[in-house]
C-alpha cells in the first residue's frame, strides 16, 4: 500500500543521504521525496512517498527513527491529510491547439507562467492524480517537458508534526 511519511530531521550536511542510503540499503521503495527547511532553520521537513506491506512500512518508520538526526516521523496515512504536488509542464501551443491548451489549463486551475510563440509553460498544483489526469487529458505529442516536485503532505485538522 502507498504511504506518505513526514519526517522532521536536523538540517545538517549529509542528513538527506542517510535517509536515501537507508532506503536503498534496505531495499525500500521511494516513490518521491521532497525536502526543505522549516520555519525553524535548524530543521528540515521531508515528505517521503513509499509503498510496501504494513510490516515493511513499520520497519521503514522504525529505521528512520533510528537515524540519529531524525527528530520525528509520522505516517500521514494514519489520519486525514492533504497532499499537494507542483508540476511545471512545457507544451507545444500553436495554431488552433493554442486556445485549447489554455482552456485545459483553466479547467485544471493551472496557470500559464511563460509564453513563447510556440509554447506555453503551465504551472499546476494538486494531488498527484490530478497532475496525472492533466497529462492524460492533453495531447501527448504536445508535451515538451515536465517537471514534478513529488508530494508534500500535511495532516488535516489540528494534528501537527513538531518537536
Amino acid at each position: 500500500m502507498r504511504h506518505i511519511l513526514s519526517v522532521l530531521i536536523e538540517n545538517e550536511a549529509g542528513a538527506l543521504s542517510r535517509v536515501t542510503g537507508l532506503f536503498s540499503a534496505r531495499g525500500y521503495n521511494i516513490d518521491s521525496l521532497t525536502v526543505q527547511t522549516t520555519e525553524d532553520p535548524t530543521l528540515s521537513r521531508m515528505t517521503i512517498v513509499t509503498h510496501g506491506s504494513d510490516d515493511v512500512i513499520e520497519q521503514i518508520t522504525k529505521q528512520l527513527n533510528k537515524l540519529i538526526e531524525v527528530v520525528k516521523v509520522i505516517d500521514l496515512n494514519e489520519a486525514d491529510h492533504i497532499e499537494r504536488e507542483l508540476m511545471l509542464i512545457k507544451v507545444r501551443a500553436t495554431g488552433k491547439d493554442r486556445d485549447e491548451m489554455k482552456r485545459m489549463a483553466d479547467i485544471f486551475r493551472g496557470r500559464v507562467i511563460d509564453v513563447t510563440e510556440k509554447t506555453y509553460t503551465i504551472e499546476l498544483t494538486g494531488p498527484g492524480d490530478k497532475l496525472d489526469a492533466f497529462i492524460k487529458a492533453i495531447d501527448a505529442t504536445s508535451i515538451l517537458e515536465t517537471v514534478r516536485t513529488g508530494a508534500s503532505g500535511i495532516a488535516r485538522g489540528e494534528r501537527v508534526l513538531k518537536i
Binding site: I9, E10, A13, G14, S17, R18, G21, A25, D55, E58, Q59, K62, Q63, N65, K66, I68, E69, V70, V71, I163
Partner: protein
C-alpha cells in the same frame, strides 16, 4: 583562554573520556594527531600492523570490558582498511570510536592524494558518523560520538577529521553534559507490557528463555541468572549471548541455532511462551520464520532497538528498553504477584527436555590417531578452569569453541557473529588482553583465518600481550569444505589449504613460542605447558593438526526448521520423532 590545535584537542578529548589505549597506524592526514600523541602520556598508543587489526583490537577491547575501544587511522587506504573492522563491530552492536584522517577541507572533492569519502563509505556500517569541518566543533563532536557509541543499541561511530582541522587552533573545553534532541534511547520498559510478560510466563506450560548479545553488552548476566533461577525454566543463549547464563548451569540447554544443541533447538521450536532477551531472531538462529512459527507460541521480545522487534518475527508482547532495567522490573513483577509457571507443566516440560538431552548431540567419536578438534577445546576448558577469555576466528573452529567451551560469565567469549569476519581472532585477543591485563586470553583459530591477520604476532610482541593461540589446523577452509561435502557433492573447490607455512617457525620468527601437535596424546601436555607459569608472559602459538574430515553437528540446513537438524552419526534416525507423540500436554493447567 589558551588556544590549542585541533590535534591537541583530539588527544585532550580522548583523555577526558578516560581512554587508556588508542589502536592505530599513522599516515599523512593524521601526522598532527600523532605529534600530539607523542607529546602526551595519559593514554598509550598501540601500533598495529594493519588498520583492520586496529579496529578489531579496539572492538574486542570494548567487548571484553565496560570501556570503549578507540582506533585511529589515516585517510584513504588507512580508512578503507578500517572498514571491515567497522562493519564487524556494527553487525554485533559493539560500541567503538574510530577516528580517521581526511584531506584538508579545501581539497575535499578534488580527488586529492589519499582522499576517500569516509563518511560516505562508512555510512551503512556505522551507528553514526561525523565529518568535522571546523576545529571549534571538535570537542562537542567527540562528546557526542562517545555518547552515541555506548548508549541505546551500541555501535561504532566514525569521526572524520580533515588535516587543516587538526592544525587550526581554538579554545578547548570538554563539554560536561550534552543533549541531542533527536536522540533519546529508551531505558525503562513499559510497566504495562512488563506485567503482561509476567502474566504470560505464569500461564506458560513450556516456557523458554532465549538470551542474546544484548544481555551480554547490556551487562544483564545477573538478571538473566536470577530470572532463570526464580522460575526454574530452561534457557538458551545465541552465539553472541554465550556467558549471559553460566554454561555449566543445569538450566542451560546450550547454544541454539544452526549449530545449536538438539535440546536447545527443539525447545525453541516447541516452547509455548518464549522470552527473547536482547536477541534478534537472526536467520542463523531461527532459520525460516514460518517454520519456526509452525508450532504456535507466544513471544515476549525485550530489545532496546524497536527496529529489532517484529523485524523477522511478529511478537505478542514487545518491550522496548534496556535489558537490565526491563529484567529487573520483570523479576520484581513476578515476585510481587507471586507469578510462576504451573509446576506440573514445568516438570513435564523438563522431562521432555531431559529426554532430548540424553543422546548428547555434542558427542563425538574420540580417536587415538587423529586429534579431534572438539577435544582440544574441551581440554582448554579444563586447563583454564573455564575462566579464560576466549576469542575466535570464523569457521568450524569457531563453532567448536562456542559448543565446547562452557562460558561462565558475560564478556568472556569474543567472536564475530553477524559479519563472520575471518582475521578477527588474533587482533581481538590482543585488544582483550590489553583491556584485561591479568586475564588468561586464548584465541581459537583455524589455519585459514589466522593467515588473514597473522602480522599482528608482531604487535603482540611489541606490546607484550601473552595470548595463547590455538590453531585447529585441519588443512581446509573447514566450514566451506563441510558445505561442499553436504551440498556440493564433495567437490572441494578451492577449500584445501596447500602450501601452508611452518607455523612454529613463524611464531619463533616473531619472537614467540611455537608448538606443533600431531598426536592426540600430546594435546594435554602441550596445553599444560603453554598455560604453565613458565610461559605466562609469552605468546604461545599451538599448531594442532586436527582431523581434516570432522564436521560440526548438529546442523540446521538453510531453509530447514529447527526440528530438522542434521545430527551426528550416533543420533541418526532420532530427528524424525515428532514432538507431539512424545508427550501429551493437552490436559495440563
Amino acid at each position: 583562554m589558551e588556544h590549542i590545535s585541533g590535534a591537541e584537542i583530539v588527544t585532550r578529548c580522548l583523555q577526558a573520556e578516560g581512554v587508556e589505549f588508542v589502536f592505530g597506524y599513522p599516515g599523512g592526514a593524521v601526522l598532527e594527531i600523532y605529534d600530539a600523541i607523542f607529546r602526551q602520556e595519559q593514554f598509550k598508543h598501540v601500533l598495529v600492523r594493519h588498520e583492520q587489526a586496529a579496529v578489531h583490537a579496539a572492538d574486542a577491547y570494548s567487548r571484553s570490558s565496560d570501556k570503549i575501544g578507540v582506533a585511529l587511522v589515516t585517510s584513504g587506504p588507512g580508512a578503507t582498511n578500517a572498514l571491515t573492522g567497522i562493519a564487524t563491530a556494527y553487525m554485533d552492536s559493539i560500541p567503538m570510536v574510530v577516528i580517521s584522517g581526511q584531506v584538508g577541507t579545501s581539497a575535499i572533492g578534488l580527488d586529492a592524494f589519499q582522499e576517500v569519502d569516509m563518511v560516505g563509505c562508512s555510512r551503512p556500517i556505522v551507528k553514526h558518523n561525523f565529518l568535522v569541518k571546523d576545529v571549534r566543533d571538535l570537542a562537542a563532536t567527540f562528546k557526542k560520538a562517545f555518547h552515541i557509541a555506548k548508549t541505546g543499541r551500541p555501535g561504532p561511530v566514525v569521526i572524520d577529521v580533515p588535516k587543516d582541522v587538526t592544525i587550526n587552533k581554538c579554545a578547548f573545553e570538554y563539554p560536561e553534559t550534552l543533549s541531542i534532541r533527536s536522540y533519546n534511547p529508551p531505558t525503562k520498559g513499559h510497566p504495562g507490557q512488563i506485567k503482561k510478560a509476567a502474566q504470560l510466563l505464569a500461564e506458560a506450560k513450556r516456557p523458554y528463555i532465549y538470551v542474546g548479545g544484548g544481555a551480554v553488552q547490556g551487562g544483564a548476566g545477573a538478571q538473566v541468572t536470577e530470572l532463570v533461577k526464580l522460575l526454574g525454566v530452561p534457557c538458551t543463549n545465541t552465539l553472541m549471548g554465550l556467558g549471559a547464563l553460566d554454561g555449566t548451569d543445569p538450566n542451560f540447554l546450550g547454544m541454539l541455532g544452526m549449530h545449536g544443541t538438539y535440546e536447545a533447538n527443539l525447545a525453541m521450536q516447541y516452547c509455548d511462551v518464549l522470552i527473547a532477551v536482547g536477541a534478534r531472531f537472526d536467520d542463523r538462529v531461527i532459520s525460516v520464520p514460518s517454520q519456526f512459527l509452525s508450532n504456535p507460541k507466544r513471544i515476549v521480545h525485550i530489545d532496546v532497538d524497536p527496529s529489532s522487534i517484529a523485524k523477522r518475527v511478529k511478537v505478542d508482547v514487545p518491550i522496548v528498553g534496556d535489558v537490565k532495567h526491563v529484567l529487573t522490573d520483570l523479576i520484581a513483577a513476578l515476585k510481587e504477584g507471586n507469578l510462576r509457571p504451573n509446576p506440573d507443566a514445568l516438570a513435564n516440560w523438563w522431562k521432555q527436555i531431559n529426554e532430548w538431552r540424553k543422546p548428547n548431540s555434542l558427542l563425538y567419536t574420540p580417536s587415538d590417531e587423529l586429534i579431534k578438534p572438539q577435544s582440544v577445546v574441551q581440554k582448554l576448558w579444563e586447563i583454564t578452569h573455564g575462566e579464560a577469555i576466549v576469542t575466535s576466528d570464523v569457521g568450524q573452529h569457531q563453532m567448536w569453541a562456542a559448543q565446547y567451551y562452557k562460558f561462565r560469565r558475560p564478556k568472556q567469549w569474543i567472536n564475530s557473529g553477524g559479519l563472520g569476519t575471518m582475521g578477527f581472532g588474533l587482533p581481538a585477543a590482543m585488544g582483550a588482553q590489553l583491556a584485561n591485563p591479568d586475564a588468561v586470553v586464548a584465541c581459537i583459530t583455524g589455519e585459514g583465518s589466522i593467515q588473514m591477520n597473522i602480522q599482528e604476532l608482531s604487535t603482540c610482541k611489541q606490546y607484550n600481550t601473552p595470548v595463547k593461540v590455538l590453531s585447529l589446523n585441519n588443512r581446509y577452509l573447514g566450514m566451506v569444505r563441510q558445505w561442499q561435502e553436504f551440498f556440493y557433492g564433495t567437490r572441494y573447490s578451492h577449500s584445501y589449504m596447500d602450501a601452508l607455512p611452518d607455523f612454529v617457525k613463524i611464531a619463533e620468527a616473531y619472537g614467540h613460542v611455537g608448538f606443533k601437535i600431531e598426536n592426540p596424546a600430546d594435546v594435554e601436555p602441550v596445553l599444560r605447558e603453554a598455560f604453565s607459569p613458565a610461559l605466562k608472559d609469552r605468546l604461545v602459538f599451538m599448531d594442532f593438526r586436527t582431523d581434516p574430515s570432522e564436521n560440526v553437528f548438529p546442523m540446521v540446513q538453510n531453509g530447514k526448521g529447527l526440528n530438522q537438524m542434521d545430527l551426528p552419526p550416533h543420533m541418526h534416525g532420532l530427528q524424525q520423532v515428532p514432538f507431539e507423540n512424545n508427550r501429551d500436554y493437552g490436559n495440563l493447567c
